[in-house]
């Protein structure tokens, strides 16, 4: 069967587009061939900077004839209808049609149409030009004289030639003849631009690939990658060094060369004062070169470094830069595209010069960021607002960020305004975080990576156990500096270093190590696997940052929809969840929502502010103690440059909605951790955990509200319902409950109690449906059987013990207390007939069943649990 060879040769295609383009070419061609009725055995695409190539094997030489029957009108139809049928079926005369009979419709015409198969060449000649014209390049261009007229061919860069040959293995393939905008398909290509400038005539893929290889073109990108990687490793090793591997860079470099030749270059060791990450990014981004580091024994080193850091003065991190495991060598590896006549000496030397120039710039940025700003006098107001230290470089940069009025979001004000809000919130959250399962590290959440300090963060700040006030002050300071590095030169050059640079500059200006760490870590975690900050200062600022973001976007009603989440709000919520749960932080979310919302009003007087208006028109000005305080208010965002409010929303619309968003994200998080979906539901439905962090808004605010129909969500209303039921806003307690429940249900007692409770609930549900009388409470006098008496006693005891345990937040104990019910419940169902003839006894027994349901309901709604 014939094979097809297609090569589209163009001027240099951007590296990042090649792989996808080659894949698109394969898909478009093979789809088109199949659609035209051809089949093929295999197809593979190749690409270099100057060509996309497709090798299709075992293509059928012709498409099959297609027969179809086309139904026409009745034989008695008027002439006009028959003429129309002949036209549409392509017949000359009605005698060419067949007559079919149908018992109901009578006789009618049918045309037997045969569409003859077409030669593959013809199909290819029609298909390929279409594909070239409609090729999905992310960006394409016009060129040359043809571009004087509209509609000229567009390609990623000028398309130079097309090779298209077709033919069976046993015969000489033919050139498929077609033309696209003056470029005629042929069998001539060119090899390496400099090593092999002459034309190459090709027949099919085998000789094509071999001739290209001889003309110093490695056609297969993955082979180019292997060559580069293995040569680079070997070259580094031969010099006592180790390659800093980088898959993204490798892919890019393989797209820049047709004939890879790996060389090593050098720069002055003085540049190693620049942070390693900055060096690596500088030579990577600008020069497409790999960094190398001194090779070292794989073991022991990290611990030694850790020890060294801890005892090495005020800025251990900076000083340890050269000694650390990240330290680089003053060499680098480059990939040339030629076998140079001098063995690559000039090339390595030239690249070294450029790397040196780039590193001079980086050094200049790094030094500039540590020096005073030239326009300090303009920054007074901003410096005062944040209590900044005039003399410190990072403080100056924060003042400039505020002064420049860089927009965070058109409806949510500037970066400076946002920093004010974060600082205020972080300060409030810090004592809560510090008071939780401190020290945070090594708490109960190691499993999820919470306590692991060995990864990204090199320096571990001292724990801040029991220093609530101090932590608050540090959290404020860290918040104020957290975004300052956005205006540094290095971050301007390499945005991916935000946070990391802030930390370095903070250490250099003598900030507390926790403050420095928080500047980097408040961005974290950046996803389900990223490290969660464990230092209380970092955790507080990270929480404040994320809560401000979430509440802000909820306030302006730009929450995620479907697959759209442009502000990464799901990630922010997951971040809050992971910080809280994996560090064991007891954070009443509703209270913090209210805090963050109220924080928006603190921007009053600046370009952007929010006011609160009660339904009766009064403005809300005092502090806020709970979410409940805000529920009856509308809040209105004002922009000083606009007379109209930029948004207006009732708090009651968004606070419950945001909480339920958190519940959804918590479900996803717990499911990823392997928790059972039904258990999470059961716990969430049963109502919150432990004493609420949020006083009931209804009860607190007294008269006039009890019967009001404010748009409160069920979860918020439940706050006031009963003891121990809060608004489910303490994520840690929800998680603990699910864990305890899960453990309990794995025991025999748990399984049986679940079965018993479900049975009780089913009976109750059935009777409730029938409107059977159920007593309000169990009357001990009406209990006659031994089994029901002992169940009643057991329920009383278990319920109060469980309630006590829940009060103490000891969910395992609550489960243990409930497990005492198992035996009495089992023997009750074994020995007692609920459906007694005596209505009073029956009503009393049903009340007893309701007590079982209520007792277990303290922990979870068992009816939601599967099994």
């Amino acid at each position: 069967m014939p094979d097809l060879l297609l090569e589209l040769r163009s001027e240099e295609i951007p590296a990042r587009m090649q792989r996808k383009a080659a894949g698109d070419l394969r898909k478009m061609v093979t789809d088109g061939l199949v659609e035209a009725g051809l089949t093929y055995d295999a197809a593979r695409e190749y690409f270099t900077p100057r060509r996309l190539t497709l090798d299709v094997r075992g293509l059928t030489a012709r498409s099959k004839d297609v027969r179809e029957e086309k139904k026409g009108p009745s034989t008695k139809a008027p002439e006009q209808a028959i003429a129309g049928f002949l036209r549409s079926a392509g017949l000359d005369d009605i005698s060419q049609a067949h007559v079919h009979s149908d018992p109901k419709k009578g006789d009618f015409y049918v045309a037997h149409i045969v569409r003859p198969g077409r030669a593959a060449e013809e199909i290819i000649a029609e298909l390929i030009p279409e594909i070239i014209r409609d090729f999905p390049w992310p960006k394409s261009m016009r060129w040359g004289a043809a571009s004087a007229k509209p509609g000229s061919l567009r390609w990623v860069r000028p398309l130079q030639s097309i090779v298209c040959t077709f033919g069976p293995e046993t015969e000489e393939p033919v050139v498929v003849d077609f033309e696209v905008d003056g470029i005629r398909a042929g069998n001539v290509t060119y090899g390496h631009r400099f090593h092999a400038p002459d034309a190459i005539v090709v027949r099919r893929f085998e000789d094509y690939a071999a001739k290209l290889e001889a003309a110093k073109v490695v056609l297969d990108a993955d082979r180019r990658k292997e060559i580069i990687l293995s040569d680079a490793r070997n070259l580094a090793f031969a010099n006592g060094l180790e390659l800093v591997e980088d898959e993204g860079l490798l892919e890019e470099v393989a797209g820049l060369v047709e004939w890879p030749v790996v060389l090593m270059g050098e720069f002055e060791a003085d540049f190693l004062d620049i942070p390693a990450e900055v060096i690596r990014l500088t030579i990577r981004a600008n020069q497409k070169c790999f960094a190398v580091r001194p090779s070292r024994p794989a073991s022991s080193a990290p611990q030694d470094e850790e020890r060294q850091r801890r005892h090495d003065g005020p800025h251990p991190e900076v000083r340890a830069e050269r000694a650390s495991k990240d330290a680089l060598s003053n060499r680098f590896i480059l990939t040339a595209n030629i076998e140079a006549s001098d063995g690559g000496k000039e090339i390595a030397y030239g690249n070294g010069k450029v790397v040196r120039a780039r590193l001079s710039d980086a050094l200049y940025f790094w030094k500039t960021d540590q020096a005073d700003l030239p326009d300090l006098d303009q920054l007074n107001a901003s410096a005062e607002k944040f209590g900044l230290d005039w003399k410190k470089p990072l403080d100056q940069r924060m003042a400039r960020l505020d002064h420049l009025g860089v927009t965070f979001h058109a409806k949510l004000g500037t970066q400076g305004e946002r920093v004010e809000r974060i600082a205020r919130l972080a300060e409030e959250i810090a004592p809560i975080v510090a008071a939780s399962t401190s020290p945070l590290r090594g708490g109960r959440a190691e499993g999820a990576g919470g306590g692991n300090s060995s990864s990204a963060s090199a320096t571990v700040p001292p724990p801040l156990k029991g220093e609530g006030d101090n932590v608050a002050a540090l959290a404020r300071r860290a918040s104020v500096l957290a975004k300052a590095d956005l205006t540094t030169e290095v971050v301007g050059e390499f945005p991916e270093l935000q946070g990391a640079m802030g930390r370095k500059y903070a250490l250099l200006q003598g900030e507390h190590p926790s403050v420095a760490a928080a500047i980097e870590e408040h961005w974290k975690p950046l996803g389900p696997t990223d490290r969660v900050p464990t230092d209380p200062v970092s955790a507080s600022v990270a929480l404040a940052d994320k809560l401000d973001t979430l509440v802000g976007f909820w306030a302006i009603d730009e929450k995620p929809t479907g697959s759209k989440d442009p502000y990464a709000l799901r990630r922010a919520a997951l971040g809050v969840i992971r910080i809280v749960v994996e560090n064991g932080v007891r954070l009443g979310l509703l209270h913090q929502f209210a805090n963050a919302l109220f924080g928006l009003t603190f921007n009053a007087g600046s370009r952007f502010s929010v006011i609160w208006k009660a339904e009766d028109g009064g403005e809300f000005t005092t502090g806020v103690d709970s979410a409940g305080d805000l529920l009856d208010y509308r809040f209105i965002g004002l922009h000083s440059e606009k007379s109209e409010p930029v948004f207006e929303r009732p708090a009651a619309d968004l606070i419950p909605d945001l909480l339920s968003f958190f519940h959804d994200r918590l479900q996803v998080y717990l499911r990823d951790q392997g928790a059972r979906h039904d258990l999470i539901d059961a716990v969430l439905v049963s109502g919150g955990a432990g004493p609420s962090s949020l006083p009931s808004p209804r009860e607190e605010r007294g008269e006039g509200v009890a019967g009001a129909d404010a748009p409160l969500s069920p979860s918020l209303r439940e706050e006031g319902k009963g003891e121990g039921h809060s608004a489910n806003d303490d994520l840690l307690m929800i998680v603990r409950r699910v864990e305890a429940l899960s453990t309990f249900l794995e025991t025999e007692d748990g399984k049986n109690l679940l079965a018993g409770t479900k049975r009780a609930a089913n009976i109750l549900a059935a009777e409730e449906k029938k409107k059977t009388v159920i007593a309000d409470a169990v009357d001990p006098a009406l209990l006659c059987e031994e089994a029901e008496k002992s169940l009643f006693a057991a329920v009383n005891q278990a319920e109060s013990q469980a309630a006590q345990a829940i009060q103490n937040e000891d969910f395992s104990a609550a489960m243990r207390a409930l497990s005492a019910l198992r035996e009495p419940v089992d023997s009750f169902f074994e020995r007692v007939l609920v459906n007694d003839e005596d209505v009073a006894i029956r009503a009393n027994r049903l009340a007893l069943l309701a007590r079982i349901r209520a007792a277990t309901g303290q922990v979870a709604d068992f009816s939601k649990i599967a099994g």
Binding site: E11, E12, P14, A15, R16, P49, K139, M141, R142, W143, G144, A145, A146, S147, A148, K149, P150, V156, R157, P158, R193, F194, H195, L256, V257, Q287, K288, C289, L334, A336, N337, I338, A340, S341, D342, E346, I347, Y349, G350, N351, K353, V354, V355, A357, S360, D361, Y364, P374, D375, L404, G405, V406, T407
Partner: protein, 307 residues
């Protein structure tokens, strides 16, 4: 034409310029002199910006002194200058073998592609102030960007029809390369040795120091702000005054004011008096001028208006 040895690009900065002049003159370009105004890049020369528009063929080559006030380093950085030279070639429509022509020019100045690693690395060029963009490459020689190679797609907000190819050589970098010099100020300018030798530093070091002081510290921002407004108003006034029924009579003078506004903006930017939000609006104001000039140019004879 062969040059005497002391004027070979490997020994002389001016020899490099002359070699390029010879090469492109030989190809049929008009060899122009630098535009007599302060510009940020050779592209701003009306021989590129305006002549890239319209249907008429055009081939030109010239040196353009380029001013980047922000890149001043008081003469202390061996690679960065606030005033440097670009060699600019513009060919409309671009010939099909433009890459080969470019490589030929490198060969002419002594860069052997089998010793030096020449590469075309993706670079989508865009000039927000000129409302222009194009696709092409940075041309690398041993990892150093020595030229920009662009197929203009749009200039002054107007589609190029036909497309022009633009080559911009960074002359100092290229000269440092072929002379084997690490510091721009060490370049041999005139190719002579001993007492007769004039270096790049002899010509420009003092100016770099003085202009850095001016650009960063002393340029009068109040005056500059006023100049910007004046240039903008003047450009608009000239465009209005020159506009006829279907033709335009005063595009070049109007475009001069657009260039002036652009340079004043660069100075203000170097002085750090333009905030992030203002920055965008200044750029848009210059772009509006450029667009209006481009539209007007199409209504002139050089812009293809049928006489």
């Amino acid at each position: 034409m062969t040059l005497p040895a002391h004027m070979h690009p490997s020994r002389s900065f001016q020899g490099l310029i002359l070699t390029l002049h010879n090469y492109w003159a030989d190809y049929g370009c008009v060899v122009l002199q630098p535009y007599d105004m302060e510009v940020g890049a050779g592209t701003f020369h009306p021989a590129t910006t305006l002549r890239a528009l319209g249907p008429k063929p055009w081939r030109a080559a010239y040196v353009q002194p380029s001013r980047r006030p922000k890149d001043g380093r008081y003469g202390e950085n061996p690679n960065r200058l606030q005033h440097y030279y670009q060699y600019q070639v513009i060919l409309k429509p671009n010939p099909p073998d433009l890459q080969e022509l470019y490589l030929g020019s490198l060969a002419a100045i002594g860069i052997d592609p089998l010793t030096h690693d020449i590469r075309f690395v993706e670079d989508d060029w865009e000039s927000p102030t000129l409302g222009a963009w194009g696709l092409g490459w940075e041309c690398w020689c041993d990892g150093m960007e020595v030229s920009q190679f662009t197929y203009f797609q749009q200039v002054c907000g107007i589609e190029c029809a036909p497309v022009a190819g633009e080559l911009t050589y960074g002359l100092e970098r290229l000269a440092m390369y072929v002379q084997g010099v690490d510091n721009v100020y060490d370049l041999n300018f005139n190719g002579r040795e001993g007492a007769e030798k004039v270096s790049y530093g002899d010509v420009f070091l003092q100016a770099e120091q003085e202009y850095s002081r001016h650009n960063f510290e002393h340029a009068d921002t109040a005056v500059l702000l006023r100049h910007f407004d004046d240039a903008e108003a003047e450009c608009q006034a000239l465009l209005k005054a020159g506009a006829g029924e279907n033709f335009h009579r005063m595009v070049f003078p109007a475009y001069d004011q657009c260039i002036k506004a652009s340079h004043v903006f660069n100075l203000l930017d170097a002085r750090g008096v333009i905030s992030v939000t203002e920055r965008q609006s200044y750029i848009l104001r210059v772009r509006d001028l450029a667009k209006a000039c481009g539209v007007a140019f199409l209504q002139t004879e050089a812009g293809g208006l049928a006489a």
